[in-house]
């Protein structure tokens, strides 16, 4: 991210041509929220922060809202809707078409050893195929190495719904510096033992031995998201929650 102060754009606004990244060889790549009108016009379709990456010659709009639209490589938490002959139908968000997850797309799965999942169970999966006008496809295994890489069925624990923008912030490689999310670290520093899995479809799975800890983590996440808390406020919130629950 190159811009020092976030640049907010509105739908239909003209984008300053000097902001558009150029490269000798690589074509410009447009991400979510931008639309190319031939021959040479780029128009935002949503309101949000314009993010320009000069290194990758790409630009997109960061906004918080709407429904999850699958794109290839996303990590998601899905809910098994039902099983068909050789794949599961998985719901990524309510009231949207299901994604498919082949029975054999799990680590060292064969016809006989594949995991048996009932409807309503959760999986942590990667979107392997996402084309427009087609149901997305998922996998719980890295197809080149055959390893699960932490993907697979999620046992016990609790799922909390967060906004899509917050899920993206949690998934950032440097979620503390860039995403301004410190709530999980702060909870860990308080000596709470828990594990999390963040799905890009706005779901966070929290697993813990103690029910109280999981509830506390969920409340902290939800409150941070809903109130848009800054780093300082997040730490304060965690302190408050810990005091309340003990």
């Amino acid at each position: 991210m190159s811009s020092e102060s976030p640049l907010v754009v509105l739908p239909g606004e003209t984008i300053d041509p000097s902001l558009i990244p150029t490269h000798k060889k690589n074509p410009l790549r447009l991400g979510p929220g931008l639309r190319h009108i031939p021959p040479s016009e780029i128009v935002p379709t949503v309101a949000g922060q314009l993010v320009v990456d000069h290194r990758k010659t790409s630009m997109w709009i960061e906004y918080n809202g709407g429904r999850y639209i699958p794109s290839q490589g996303d990590l998601i938490i899905g809910q098994i809707a039902r099983s068909a002959t050789d794949f599961y139908y998985v719901s990524l968000s309510p009231y949207t078409p299901n994604a498919t997850l082949p029975h054999l797309a799990f680590e060292s799965a064969t016809k006989k050893t594949r995991p048996q999942l009932a409807s309503g169970e959760l999986v942590y999966a990667r979107v392997s195929l996402a084309n427009r006008h087609m149901d997305p496809e998922l996998e719980c295994v890295n197809s080149s190495t055959g390893k699960a890489d932490g993907l697979g069925p999620l046992k016990d624990g609790m799922v909390f719904d967060v906004s899509l923008g917050f899920a993206r912030r949690l998934l950032m490689a440097k979620s503390r510096e860039e995403g301004k999310v410190e709530v999980l670290e702060a909870l860990g520093e308080e000596g709470l033992a828990f594990e999390t899995a963040v799905g890009r479809n706005g779901k966070v799975w929290v697993g813990s031995e103690s029910v109280k800890t999981a509830v506390m983590v969920g409340r902290a996440l939800r409150e941070t998201d809903e109130k848009g808390l800054g780093v300082e406020a997040q730490r304060k919130l965690v302190k408050k929650l810990v005091r309340e629950m003990r």
């Binding site: 309510p94 009231y95 169970e121 959760l122 016990d156 624990g157 029910v211 509830v215 409340r219």
Partner: protein
Amino acid sequence: MPREAEPSANEKAFLLKALQDEQIRLDGREFDQYRPLELTFGDEYGVANVSLGKTKILAKASAEVTVPFADRPLDGIFTIATELSPMAAPHFEVNRPTETEVLLSRLLEKTVRRSGALDTESLCLVAGQKCWSVRVDVHVLSHDGNLTDAACFAVVAALRHFRKPDTSMENGVLTVYTPAEREPVPLGWLHSPFCVTWSFFGEEGETALLDADWMEEQVRVASVTISLNRHGEICQIAKLGGVPVEAVALLQCTSVALTKVKEFSTYLDDKLAEDAKRRDKGGFMAELRAENDRIVG
């Protein structure tokens, strides 16, 4: 027709574990605690906007002059119209009432209409010929559980806030005055009933909670809706299926419900008084003055 989204198996199991083993709710509330209840009135008379946590309901009361029913020539007409639109949740469809919608309108009917909260005789203008028809439209804007309690509160608030145009009868001529000619008059109101819904969890319904949110409603095994007013007069108790609940537990529920209803009642009275103060420009002389409202300071 899209089916209602269901929480996952993990969520259901976790919620039950938290409620039964640890005695905590996911949002940190006490078992007998409501989510924050908020009420705002619109600019017009009879518009009440109620939010109970993320559940949001808009109720609008209106009145028109019609012909009374032939079998009740001395009574006015009072109807409550509930509609759950896809705006509340995508599985609701227009013109195809779901079970939730039918139960909701039935409960409101029983609580407000059949308990005689509104004095329908005062709506009669000319016996057998003309009467007021009062109608309350309930719009669910957002559905996060416990629609009944929020909707009932909204209906009562809208009706208590509503003013119908003043009328007079002279030499057999009925005149309906506009608000500019005569100040509109409130409805003949007898008592304010409120609904309080208990949800039960566990094999035999041993855990009871107030004001269940959407997720809790999906997991509960039974629910009881008690309607009563601040004097402890019970209008109805609805327990529609589910596991049986012990009589002693039910008595306890009713006594807690009474304290809640008293809180609702006080809150509504305060809000109505606040709104009346906001509308009151300070008597006849103040109304006649030609000055504009100026922002002080």
